[in-house]
Amino acid sequence: MAVYKRTYKAYSGPLTPGWSRFTVLTRYGLARLFDSRLFTSYTVFCFLPFLLGLVFIYFVHSTAAQMILGLKFGREPIIDNRWFFEFLRVESWLGVILTAWAAPGMISKDFANQSIQLYLSRPLSRAEYLLGKISVLATLLSFTTWIPALILFVVQAEMQGHGWGWENLWIAGAIILASFLWIGLMSLLSMGLTVWVKWRIAATALFFGVLFFMAAFGFAVNVILRTRWGWLLNVPQMVFLVWCNLFRVPLAWIQLHRDAVPLWSAWASLLAVCAFSLWLLNRRLKAREVERA
């Protein structure tokens, strides 16, 4: 199809591997998000806890710096599982805003532009389409959760020395598992809600609604029915309950010790949220909608 000839010619060049097609969606998705300066600024802001964490680790291990600032840290190790747990908690809340900002626009725009049929008329399955979109969120959330947390872990291990890294290697495992759970949950929930309402603003509101209003509703259930099962409706709290177990942090740390639900029920509620989101995605994410009489 040479320009000067203005005639059609079939393509006979090389093709990319089939498995890598979803990465095209991820690449274009990220590029579109970072077209917005506001979004870019916020993403940079999400690295602030990481930078503060780095500085803190440096001060903890540098007596010179402590002397200059007049700080004195005790003998108790203050960078431990609880410190990493708190770091991830802060980053996860920043990640909630990042998800609410990025996720609804990615799919709702495709619905609004009726372009789903264009994607799915190519050698790309619905699962790959979803994987491509979720990878955008996974990339963003990875850079604000487990990647900085692991960097901090390595820096701490290096500065502490004396085999600290090996002794506390399980913390690195907890960081990865906890982050993956959070990323998977946030991605599926936000995508599922977006395909359900198909309108960006409504999807964002619904996402916050599920996270916060459901929590309030769960609290009301607890008070009115004098039960503790209302906690199951509090998605963030259930995640932190699971995290407490992964980081070996006592529940008292997050004020859940008095009326905490069993760990298995927290896992079950989170898996139910993921399953429900997948069901919504399977039901709504289609090239063509079939109107039922």
């Binding site: 199809m1 010619k9 079939a10 393509y11 093709l15 372009s115 799915l120 790309l124 009489a293």
Partner: protein
């Protein structure tokens, strides 16, 4: 010519309704027209060929491969231009087409090159850096065609490509379709309810009615058959009609000297002149009657495809 699309007892149900009912037929034209009134199942057939709908029974094949079993492979060979507006409004035209080409498997650089070429090919070269949301309706249609072409498909599915276009833009679109068809590198399936569009581009037509094939005909053969079908206007009949019948022609009179004649293969037109001379009859007008697509369509709509007549009914010249 090898069949492009084969339908074998294809039945598609959407919700409680059977939309395509036991379709059978093989389509092998370079440019195939898919005709039918609204709700006849045209778009459903295209969506089934794209694998969006799973057949309830039977199967559809493209290039000899069963659609549902070879979705990935076939979709790589198909370019699809949907009927509705389908694009990403805040993306520039060329970036959008590049994006779509990359999703079809072209590497980044090749996709970019092909996107530019596709835009020049459809005549939107100057507007390729503008955002798609700012395009006029005609430009959007051309951009949709460009994205369908960029990855170099073997089969192009065009769903109502001239919808909403002004006459000039419509002609340009049809000319492009003819150009693409004439390269011989791509087979084209056009769904439309505009008979004229189909007649201008297609060499084969499938007509759907109520989810069934009402007619499946090769327009080229139909046109050849029409060469033996004459409409005459004569000064008086004076036994001319009987003499023509005596030659072995099918013949009918419509009064006032108007005759319709079907010539057998071994009869030449000059024999009619000779008979006219013998009977002192003036032939005032002689036309090769061309059975237009409209006639074929109307015949198909009238005959329909009632229950039990779902098989393709190949239209040939049906006499007078």
């Amino acid at each position: 010519m090898e069949p492009v699309i084969e339908l074998e007892n294809l039945q598609v149900r959407l919700g409680p309704r059977i939309i395509l009912d036991r379709l059978n037929g093989a389509l092998s034209g370079r440019c195939i027209g898919l005709l039918g009134p609204n709700g006849s199942g045209k778009s459903t057939l295209i969506n089934t060929l794209l694998g969006f709908y799973r057949p309830l029974a039977g199967r559809a094949k493209i290039f000899g491969k069963e659609v549902q079993e070879n979705l990935r492979d076939l979709r790589a060979q198909i370019g699809y231009m949907p009927e509705s507006d389908a694009f990403i409004a805040d993306m520039s035209g060329v970036r959008f087409v590049r994006y779509m080409a990359e999703l079809s498997g072209l590497p980044k650089d090749e996709a970019m090159e092909r996107a530019h070429e596709a835009f020049f090919y459809v005549g939107l070269g100057e507007a390729r850096y503008r955002k798609l949301g700012t395009y006029s309706l005609g430009m959007k249609q051309l951009a949709k065609l460009a994205q369908a072409l960029a990855h170099g498909p073997r089969l192009l599915l065009l769903d109502e490509p001239t919808n909403g276009l002004d006459p000039e833009a419509r002609q340009r679109m049809l000319q492009l379709v003819r150009d693409i068809r004439d390269t011989g590198e791509v087979r084209v399936l056009i769904s439309s309810h505009l008979l004229h569009d189909i007649e201008e581009c297609c060499d084969e037509v499938i007509i759907l009615k109520d989810g069934k094939i009402a007619a499946l005909c090769n327009l080229e053969e139909e046109r050849k058959a029409n060469l033996k079908f004459l409409e005459l206007e004569v000064s008086n009949e004076n036994g001319f009609l009987e003499s023509v019948r005596g030659l072995g022609c099918e013949c009918a009179s419509f009064g006032a000297g108007r005759l319709k004649v079907v010539l057998p293969d071994d009869i030449e037109v000059r024999q009619l002149y000779r008979l006219a001379g013998e009977h002192s009859v003036q032939i005032r007008r002689m036309n090769y009657r061309r059975d237009s697509l409209e006639d074929i369509f109307l015949k198909a709509m009238m005959n329909g495809a009632g229950p039990g007549k779902a098989d393709a009914k190949v239209l040939s010249h049906g006499g007078l």
